[in-house]
Symmetry: C2
Subunit: 190 residues, 2 copies
DNA sequence: CTTGTTTTGTATCGATTGGTTCAAAACACG
DNA sequence: CGTGTTTTGAACCAATCGATACAAAACAAG
């Protein structure tokens, strides 16, 4: 038919994700996007149409990966207490290891009230995580390590908020020991 | 001595704060800063030297106000449980009323890993809030509505993280009922 | 090898960015 | 009423912004 692409599209989105993740949307220039992806301007605009569209692709890729990790964890046969415990522990470890935070949280804070489509994507993912967690908690009731008097959905909201809280605290300078104590205290509320 | 200022400096910082708060640092142009403050470029640069310096002034103003509100609340003679309850309830109410979030959280996410001085200011304020909360919890032990087996400092970290978590969840699209359930669940961990 | 279609690199677009220059205007002080 | 000092407004700066134009290059299909 015609001249074929010389690059892999998902690989380019992945590189763009790295750039947006470490620098944020506004502060990442199209020039930096070119350098990060290794593509020329034409290739980027021909494929992704605009900086904003490329960002949305990067966000979707990130969300897919993260949701994949979550469902994978929830599908193990750990107790629900252990599942949530390792979930929080992973967040603490990640925040301690680098300092670019979580791309979901970063995007929510920077763009959610300014870009309706980004906000919708974030909200959709929030609901997906909420439903997955709620189901896991519901079905984990028999484990006996979750307060049966508490609403599973409320606990799921709480777990999600705790994750966000740990991430904000990490960005505000809390050290690893502090983050770990937050995780431990949160587990107490289950 | 010389020609006097025609504007009030704190009032200008306050106007700049509004602009930075609703739009973020990068996305707020110096032109918008002029319009928000009602000042000309010369006045702004003569007084504040740079966009970044003006931002730091705005952040300091915001932090001062917020810390003032917190210490005021902690100085009441409510039980520690009630203090933290109204603290969380205020956050939920604020996040439900408008959609620009919290300037502290916004700044932490957008700038903390890119501007060392901003990070330092945020970290200092984190510690101030932590100390105030820790003291209040410690002295509220006798109320009997806080688990005496738990470390006061750990609970303080947890309260701060819960606030951040509620704010992130709000930005991600959680509704008021969800945020309230998070606050309720968190109180359970005390 | 031609033809048709797409990708790619380069050059460039107008607009906007944060910031400066400079002279006129404004006032306190003597 | 000068005089000295500062503030103010307007014009202006190079640099960068996101995005486009366009032709050469690359390849599949015939």
């Amino acid at each position: 038919m015609a001249r074929p692409r010389k690059f892999d599209e998902e690989q380019a989105v992945d590189a763009a994700l790295e750039a947006f993740w470490t620098t944020g949307y506004e502060a990442t220039s199209t020039q930096e996007l070119c350098e990060a992806t290794g593509l020329g301007r034409s290739s980027i605009y021909n494929t992704f149409h605009s900086k904003r569209d490329l960002f949305r692709r990067a966000l979707a890729l990130y969300i897919d990966r993260r949701t994949g990790e979550l469902t994978e964890l929830l599908d193990t046969d750990l107790t629900i207490h252990a599942k949530i415990g390792t979930l929080l522990e992973r967040v603490v470890a990640e925040e301690s290891e680098h300092d670019r935070g979580c791309f979901f949280v970063n995007s929510a804070i920077e763009l959610a009230d300014r870009d309706a489509e980004v906000a919708q994507e974030l909200e959709r993912d929030y609901r997906r995580r909420l439903d997955a967690l709620t189901a896991a908690i519901e079905s984990g009731r028999r484990d006996g390590d979750v307060d049966r008097a508490k609403d599973a959905r409320a606990l799921a909201h709480f777990v999600i908020a705790t994750i966000g809280g740990i991430r904000v605290s990490a960005r505000a300078g809390a050290d690893r020991a502090a983050l770990e104590s937050v995780a431990r205290t949160a587990l107490t509320a289950l």
